[in-house]
Amino acid sequence: MRDMANTSSDRRNQDRTRLLLKLRPLIQTAFLLLWAAPLGWISAQMGRWGRSMPSCVFHCYYAGGNYCPAASLSCPIGIMAQLVALGAAPLLAIGAVVLAGALVGSLVCGWACPFGFLQDLLAKIPLPKLRPPAWTSAGRYVVLGALVLALPYWIGLTGKPYDEQEITICRWCPAGALEAGVPLTIQGALEGRPELMVSPKKAAILVAFLLGSVFIHRPWCRLFCPLGGLLALFNRFSVFHLWFKKTACTSCNTCRGRCDMDVPVDQSLNSPRCIRCMECTTCGAILPAAFLRKGGTSEAASAGSEKPPGA
């Protein structure tokens, strides 16, 4: 009787997660429209509050060689690097990252990042995909440590302001080129100011990563994105998390087969390499959860009281 109840609840869970996964492209598109606010439309519609939110840097702190200091919403990595270069503590940016990470971990990467979404779309082109080894994901922390923290701080000590520093994440970031430089260029052209708001170097890096996305799934996120790396550190502690339900597992291997980021799903479900696209939940044995799971039991406790189907 209990097995039957388990089976029907497993099926319900499976249906629910499959429906959620079908909605994922729509949710990513919705976030893309939200981040596309640099085109100015949203802020123009929001009256006084909107005008207080400079649309030019709604997402990227650095576009066209200029910084907007009054940005309410901008890339926390850019803010961190900028403030570190001045020897100031980037409390706002760190607070935003810690809060988002503690609540949802890297769910932001899989469901809200527009650059990740574009890489997802390009990865659908049916060409053979390369699979970089797991250790390459440490590149994200090298970028974070070197380009966001160490170099800006070190060069900043010499008195050189961040916007004059040559080697910074903001000058190289392809996500910033896509989400701020390109929209600003389009906006300028529409307003009769044809001016390229992306440096040739940054544009070339963007093109390289877009081409790379055809052959490696999410190369930027996987290898270099410092923000994704930071958020992923919280995967093991975040309120939202994934958990494995032993009784629902039929050893079908679907979870590992569907993971585009090559996370060892069977060994480390909430790995820092996971972007929480939740494709692995398709099989129904891996479930998304927040706070306590339904039934209030921990995985360890439930494993002792339930038997896997067919056992």
Partner: protein
């Protein structure tokens, strides 16, 4: 839906999967710490250095102030705040802020 990749992988043994039992208070505690940092940062970002003294300003006033180039860099040794951390000098040919 993406197709399942045909990769040779060892059989999954559900019993051997590591338990990832959680302590939800850790996430909540981290979220509280993040919120506190966020509020402290927001407070700092709205404190602007006007020739000699730090003043607290609203977001809309901050935008007007910055776009009018009234914010000054703090003197060496003074605490920097987020709103004075920028390149405030406009080039002559540079376009205005879209807002």
């Amino acid at each position: 839906m993406a197709k399942i990749r045909n990769i040779q992988q060892p059989e999954i043994d559900p019993e051997s999967r590591p338990s990832e039992a959680r302590k939800p208070w850790r996430g909540i505690l981290l979220a509280v710490v993040g919120l506190a940092l966020l509020l402290m940062g927001a407070h700092a970002s709205h404190t602007v250095y006007f020739g000699g003294s730090n003043q607290k300003v609203s977001q809309s006033k901050l935008v007007r102030t910055v776009t009018a180039n009234l914010v000054q860099r703090p003197l060496t040794g003074q605490p920097t705040t987020q709103s004075v951390t920028t390149n405030l000098q406009k080039d002559s040919g540079q376009a205005d802020c879209p807002t």
